[in-house]
Symmetry: C2
Subunit: 394 residues, 2 copies
C-alpha cells in the first residue's frame, strides 16, 4: 500500500532519538536537574549576535518580494560569489561560485551529491565510525554502503583496509573530519593515504572516484591541529557544508555544495547536482538564510564553551579510568565501553540517569558517544554519577 522501505525508515526511531525521548520522560519523573542528557548533537551555544542583527537589517532594508522570493535553484548569485571569495581567501582552494550550489543543510548536501553521482550497482565507502544517516542516504539512491574500519583507538585511516574495499563499482568515498561521533580530526598522514590510494585506484579502473567531504564541524577545532582541506589535495572532490554547527543554525537548514574547479568533467558533475536537487524537490535553499550566512560566513558561535566542556569531561572521565580518544574537534567524546556490549553499558548508565549513546549504529562496536554541546553546569553535576557508574567495572 505504501513504500515498505519508507515506512520502516519512518517507524523506527534512531537510538539517539530514543534516548532523548526517554530523557524527557525521566526528567518529568525525577526533575530535569537530575537527568544528564548527552544524547543529542544540538548546538548549545547561541548563534553569534551578527545573525540576529543581519536578519533584522535584511528585514528592514530589503524589498520583501526580493528577500523572500525564489532565488535561482543554485542559490543567489551574490551569495555564492561572497562565499566562494571567502573560501578562496581562507583555503586558497579551487573554488568557483559557478560550481557552488546552496542547500538546505548537510543532509541535503549529501543526498543531492549522492543522487548526482549514483548509477546502477555503484558503491560508496564510509570510514567507521560514521554518522548513521550515511547508510540511509546512500541506500536511498539504490547504491551500496561499504564500511571501512579505521585504526582502533586512534580512528585514523587504515590504508590497507581502505585499498581492499575499493572495487570497480566504487563511485565515491565519504570523509567526515572533524568526525561525528569520535571528535577525531584526520591527520596529514591519513589525508595523504586517502588521496594516494584514490589516485592509484582511479588510474587502475580508468574512471573517477569522488571524494565527498562532509564538513559541518570544519570550524569546531580546539587543539593546535590542522583539518585537511581535501579540495587542495584531490581534484575529484565535492565539498558538502552546513552552517548548522558553526553558526548554531541547525533548524534553519542552510549549507552548500562546492564542486572542485579541478574536478573531471566539472560542468557535467555540477549539472548533475542541479538535476538531483530538482528531482528531490529542493527548489532553492531558504532565501533569507542564504543572505544571512553570506553576511556571517566565517564567524562562529562561542567555541570556547565547547572547548571548556571537552576539557572538563575528557579529563574527568580519563582520570576515572575511562578510555577515550582525545577529541580535537566537533563536540563529541567517543568513550570505550568497559564491557564488550555498548548497549548494556548504556543501559547501566541509564540507572544513574546518564544518557549516553551506544555507538553500534555508527559502525563501531564497544563504544558510546557523549555529546558535550550541553550546559557546562550539567557536565559538572554529572561527574559523581560517572564515578558511581565506573565503580561497577573496577
Amino acid at each position: 500500500m505504501v513504500s515498505e522501505k519508507m515506512k520502516e525508515l519512518g517507524s523506527k526511531r534512531s537510538v539517539i532519538r530514543d534516548l532523548f525521548e526517554y530523557g524527557k520522560l525521566k526528567a518529568s519523573e525525577v526533575g530535569e536537574e537530575n537527568v544528564y542528557d548527552f544524547s543529542l548533537g544540538n548546538p548549545s551555544v547561541p548563534a553569534p549576535k551578527s545573525v540576529e542583527e543581519t536578519i533584522t537589517k535584511l528585514i528592514k532594508e530589503t524589498e520583501p518580494t526580493l528577500l523572500h522570493g525564489y532565488t535561482s535553484a543554485q542559490g543567489d548569485a551574490l551569495v555564492r560569489k561572497t562565499l566562494a571569495d571567502n573560501l578562496k581567501k581562507r583555503f586558497d582552494a579551487p573554488i568557483n561560485e559557478n560550481l557552488m550550489y546552496m542547500t538546505c543543510g548537510a543532509a541535503a548536501s549529501l543526498t543531492i551529491t549522492l543522487h548526482a553521482l549514483a548509477e546502477k550497482d555503484d558503491e560508496f565507502i564510509a570510514f567507521t565510525p560514521f554518522f548513521p544517516e550515511y547508510r540511509v542516504f546512500v541506500e536511498g539512491t539504490g547504491s551500496k554502503l561499504v564500511c571501512v574500519d579505521t585504526v582502533d583507538g586512534s580512528f585514523q585511516i587504515d590504508g590497507e583496509a581502505f585499498e581492499k574495499a575499493i572495487t570497480k563499482n566504487t563511485k565515491g568515498v565519504i570523509v567526515n573530519t572533524p568526525n561525528n561521533p569520535s571528535g577525531v580530526v584526520l591527520n596529514e598522514e591519513s589525508a595523504n593515504t586517502i588521496v594516494e590510494i584514490l589516485e592509484k585506484k582511479q588510474k587502475e579502473y580508468s574512471h573517477p572516484i569522488f571524494l565527498i567531504t562532509d564538513e559541518p564541524y570544519r570550524e569546531l577545532i580546539y587543539s593546535d591541529v590542522k583539518n585537511p582541506c581535501f579540495l587542495n589535495l584531490y581534484n575529484n572532490t565535492v565539498l558538502c557544508y552546513s552552517y548548522s554547527k558553526s553558526l548554531s543554525l541547525p533548524g534553519e537548514r542552510i549549507g552548500y555544495i562546492a564542486v572542485s574547479d579541478k574536478a573531471e568533467n566539472k560542468a557535467d558533475l555540477y549539472a548533475s547536482v542541479c538535476g538531483a536537487g530538482r528531482v528531490l524537490g529542493y527548489v532553492c535553499a531558504p532565501s533569507l538564510m542564504q543572505r544571512v550566512v553570506a553576511a556571517c560566513d566565517g564567524e562562529t558561535g562561542d567555541l570556547d564553551a565547547y572547548r571548556g566542556n571537552r576539557d572538563i569531561l575528557y579529563n574527568a572521565l580519563t582520570e576515572m579510568g575511562f578510555e577515550c580518544v582525545y577529541p580535537d574537534g566537533a563536540f563529541y567524546l567517543f568513550v570505550k565501553s568497559p564491557i564488550p556490549s555498548a548497549e548494556e553499558f548504556s543501559n547501566k548508565a541509564k540507572e544513574y540517569n546518564l544518557l549516553i549513546v551506544p555507538a553500534d549504529s555508527f559502525g563501531v562496536k564497544g563504544y558510546v558517544r557523549l555529546s558535550y554541546c550541553v550546559a557546562t553546569d550539567m557536565i559538572k553535576r554529572s561527574l559523581p554519577k560517572f564515578e558511581e557508574l565506573m565503580k561497577n567495572y573496577k
Copy 2:
C-alpha cells in the same frame, strides 16, 4: 561518470526559465520598461506586514538555540497544533496534528508524498494541463506519470477519460486546484466525478488509490466559486500545501503535508511520509519560518492586486479576440494560441517583447501561459503590444 538522468535534468532549463533569462538579456538591450515579462510565477505582492513583524518579534523574544534549533522531523509540535486547529476551523476537515508533517514547500510536499507511496510499477495520474515538474517528481520515484486530458476549453474533469486511465497499478492521482497554468478552479461536478470514480476503482482493485491535492493556490480565488476540499470528500487524501503564494514566501520553502485522519492505515502512511523525508535529506522544515507561518496562517498578501491584474488582462485580451478560459484563481491566464503551434506563437510574441510561455510542457498543446503576478503598470503598457501581435492573425 555521473548520473545521466540527473545530468540531463540539470542541463536543460525549463522553457519558463529560458524565457525569463531571455527577458533579462533583452531588457539590458532595449530597457526594462520595454520588455513585458509574463513568464514567472513569482508573487509580485509583498508578504503581509505580519510576516516581518513576527520575524522581528521571534528574534527578540526567543532564545536563539531554540528558535534556530532542530525541531522534530515532523515539525514543531506547537506549530503543527496551531495549523491543525486552524484547518479544522476553516474546513471542518479530518485533520490531525499528529498526521501533519512540515515541509520545505510544495515541491518537497509532493516529492516526499510520492516517495512515501511509490512501489515498483506504480503509476500516478495528473490531469492536463499540469505543472511540468510533476513529471520530474513522479519519474524521480521510478514510477510512471499518466496524463489524463480534461475537457478542452473548460479544463474541468472528463470522467470517462479519467476512468479509462486508472489501472491496477494506479497508486495515486494528483489534483491541483486552483490550477497552474489554467487558473481554473474545479467545480463541484468535477470534484464529485473524481471521488466517485476513485471509490469505484478502489473497490474494483481492492487497494487504496490516494488523492494527492497540490494546493499552493488555495487562497488565491477571486470569484464567487468554492474550491473543493477533497479531505471532506475522500478518505484517502493527502493534502500538500505551501505558503509560497498565499504569504508570498516562495524563497523561504515552507509548507506542509496533511494525511487525512480518515485515510486507510493512516499510521503506516504517515510513517512512510516521515521515512521519505528522512531518505530525501529533509531533516526538518526551516525552524524560524515554521513559527512564522504558524503565526500568520490564514493571512494572505494583497489578493486584490492579483484580481485587478486578472480583470485588466482578461478583459483586454478577450476583447482583442484572444480565446481564454476565465481564471477564477491562481495568477495565470491560459490563452489559446491563434495558430496551432504555441511555440511559434510565443516566438512571434517575442518580436513585440511579450514573453509568454508555450504550454506544451504543461501537457496541452496550442496554449500559452501568462503569469499576471506582475506590476499592473506593466500589464497596462503591454496591451498595445498584444493588439499589434493579434493583428498578425486577423
